[in-house]
C-alpha cells in the first residue's frame, strides 16, 4: 500500500493517539486510559444514531427508486435533511400511553432494546486495529448480546395491553429464538477455520483475497447467516412481529413519539451491526486491495444493507408456521451439514475437497427442500374455455 493510502488507512487511529498524547501532558496515567475509553465510547454513541438516521433515508430512497418514484427530495438537497426532520418530528410528537398499560414496563421496553443494539458496536472491527474493544471472545459476546433483543420486544407488546401487540409479541418470541439457533451454528465453521473467537483475528485470517465466502462452506454459511440476520432484526420477508397488514403495527402499536423512535432506531442499528458482523465473518471485514480499510468495511456493509432493502421492496411476508418450518426444517440441518463439509474441506486439500464440499451441500439443499412439501409451489393448470 502506498504511503498516502496507509496514512488515510490509519487516520483515525493516529487521531486518537494524538489526542491521548495531548491529554497525557496534563492528566495522570490512569486518566489517559479512562480518556481513551471515553473517546471510543463517545464515537460509538454518535456513530450509532447517525448511521441509523441515514439508513432510514437510504432505505426510503432505494425503495422509492425500485418503485419508479423519487423518494424524499423536499427537505434539503436530495432529501439529505429528511432524517433530521424525522428526528424532530419524533421528539415533538405526543407520547401516548394507553390507560390500562403497565406504565413502568411500557417505558422500560424501548430503553432495554436500544442498549444491546449499541453494545454490539463494541466488537465490530471498523478498520485495521479500529475495533473498540478487541475481546478475545468477540463472536460469543456478539451472539450473547444480540439474543437479548427478544425480551424488550416481548416486554413492549405485553405492557401495552393491546391484543394486536400481544399477538405480535408471541410471534417475536417464536421467530427470534428459532432463528437464533441456525445463526449461531452458521458461525461455527468460521471459528473452526480461523481458530479464534476474536473478530479482529477472524478478519486477519482472511488475509489477501482468501475471504471465507469464496469457499463452498463459506458461501453456504454466509447465505444462511444473512437470512438469519434479516429474521433477527424483523425485516421483510420476516417482519411478522410488526405485520402492518394483519396486526396493525405489531408490538409497537401503542408506542408513539420518542419511544417509537427508540424502537425504530434499535431496528436500524441492529440491521447495521448484524450486516457488519456478516461482513466481518464471511466477506473479509476490512480486507481489500487498494482503498483504506475502513472504506472497504463501510462499502461491504452498505452493500449488505442494500440487499436487505432490496428484500423489503420485493418479497411478501411469510406466515408464522412457514417461518418456523424454514428455520427448523431447512436452515438448521443445512448448518449441521455445513459444519461437516467445512471439516472435510479442511482435511482434503486440492480440487476434490472443493468439488466434494460443493456437491454435498447442493445435494443436501435439494433433499431438504424436497422433504419440505408445503414449501414447494405446486404445478397448476388453467383451462381456457369459451
Amino acid at each position: 500500500m502506498n504511503p498516502a493510502m496507509s496514512f488515510l488507512d490509519s487516520i483515525f487511529v493516529n487521531l486518537k493517539l494524538w489526542t491521548l498524547n495531548l491529554i497525557g501532558h496534563f492528566l495522570p496515567g490512569w486518566a489517559v486510559i479512562l480518556a481513551s475509553i471515553v473517546i471510543s465510547g463517545v464515537v460509538i454513541l454518535c456513530l450509532g444514531p447517525v448511521i441509523m438516521m441515514y439508513l432510514t433515508l437510504l432505505e426510503r430512497k432505494v425503495v422509492g427508486r425500485m418503485q419508479n418514484r423519487y423518494g424524499p427530495n423536499r427537505v434539503g438537497p436530495w432529501g439529505l435533511l429528511q432524517p433530521i426532520a424525522d428526528g424532530i418530528k419524533m421528539f415533538t410528537k405526543e407520547d401516548i400511553v394507553p390507560t390500562n398499560a403497565d406504565k413502568v414496563i411500557h417505558l422500560l421496553a424501548p430503553i432495554v432494546i436500544v442498549v444491546p443494539a449499541l453494545m454490539v458496536f463494541l466488537v465490530v472491527p471498523f478498520g485495521r486495529d479500529m475495533t473498540a474493544a478487541d475481546l478475545s471472545i468477540g463472536v460469543l459476546y456478539f451472539i450473547a448480546v444480540s439474543s437479548v433483543t427478544t425480551l424488550p420486544i416481548f416486554m413492549g407488546s405485553w405492557a401495552s395491553r393491546n391484543k394486536y401487540s400481544m399477538i405480535g409479541g408471541m410471534r417475536t418470541a417464536a421467530q427470534m429464538i428459532s432463528y437464533e439457533v441456525p445463526m449461531t451454528l452458521a458461525v461455527v465453521p468460521v471459528i473452526m477455520m480461523s481458530q479464534s473467537l476474536s473478530t479482529a483475528s477472524i478478519v486477519n485470517a482472511q488475509e489477501g483475497l482468501r475471504w471465507f465466502v469464496f469457499t463452498p462452506w463459506g458461501l453456504a454459511g454466509f447465505v444462511i447467516f444473512f437470512i438469519c440476520t434479516v429474521a433477527e432484526c424483523n425485516r421483510p420477508p420476516f417482519d411478522l412481529p410488526e405485520a402492518e397488514s394483519e396486526l396493525v403495527a405489531g408490538f409497537h402499536t401503542e408506542y408513539s413519539g420518542m419511544k417509537f423512535a427508540l424502537f425504530y432506531m434499535a431496528e436500524y442499528m441492529n440491521a447495521f451491526t448484524l450486516s457488519a458482523i456478516a461482513v466481518t465473518l464471511f466477506l473479509g471485514g476490512w480486507q481489500g486491495p487498494f482503498l483504506p480499510s475502513w472504506v472497504w468495511f463501510f462499502t461491504k456493509t452498505f452493500a449488505l444493507i442494500f440487499a436487505m432493502i432490496w428484500f423489503r421492496a420485493t418479497f411478501p411476508r411469510f406466515r408464522v408456521d412457514q417461518l418456523m418450518g424454514i428455520a427448523w426444517k431447512l436452515l438448521l440441518p443445512l448448518t449441521l451439514v455445513n459444519m461437516l463439509v467445512a471439516g472435510l474441506w479442511y482435511f482434503i486439500p486440492g480440487i476434490t475437497g472443493w468439488v466434494g464440499a460443493a456437491v454435498i451441500l447442493a445435494v443436501s439443499f435439494l433433499g431438504l427442500t424436497a422433504l419440505n412439501k408445503p414449501v414447494i409451489p405446486e404445478k397448476r393448470v388453467y383451462l381456457l374455455e369459451n
Partner: protein
Amino acid sequence: MTRPQIAKEKNPVFGTGILQGMWVTMKNFIDSYFKKADQGGIFTIQYPEELCRISENSRNFPFLVYDAAPDSPRCTACGICERECPTKCIHVEMAKDTAGKPLRKPAVFEIDYGLCMNCGMCEDVCPFDSIFMDRVYEIAGRDRTKDMLIGKDALLKPNAYFQKIRPKDAADIDARRKAAEAKKAAAARPATPPDAGGTAS
C-alpha cells in the same frame, strides 16, 4: 384434443422464483435512473413545480358564463338546474326590480362546492348555455360551510375564459347562439304588424 390451457410449471430449484422477482425490482431500480417516464422510468411528477395534464373534456365544478359584463349573465334564473341537480347543491333566486316585477336575471346564485359531485347534469339541462363545468381543482377552504358556498360573483366568468378552456364546445355554442340571434333579428325586423309577438328565445 387437449383443450387450450396454461400450465404453471414447478420451479426447477427452490430459490429461482425469488431470484427472478429480485431481478425485476433491480431492473426497475436501474431503469429509474436511465429510462424516461413511459419506458419504465420514474413516472411520478413533482406536483407544485410540474402540473398534471388536463384534457379538454375534464370537468370539476360548475361556473357561470357572461357575455358582455358580469352584471348581464346568460343565466335567466329559471331554476331548471336547481331542480335537476341530484345533490341539490344549487340555490337560485330571481332578481326583482324596485316595482317587484321579476327580472330575468339571478339575484342570488350559490353553488355549494362541498356538496357538488361534479356530475355535469346542470351543464346538460341548462337551456340557456349559461352553466358549464370548470376544471379548477385548487379550491381549498378552512370551513366546510362558509368557504365552500361559492356566491354569484365568484362563479361568473367571461365567455373568453370558456373559449380558452373548451375551444371546440365554445365554438359550437357561440355559432348556435349567433344563428339564433340572427334568426330572431330577422324574424323581428320584417314583421312590423301590430302584434310583433313571438318572444320565445
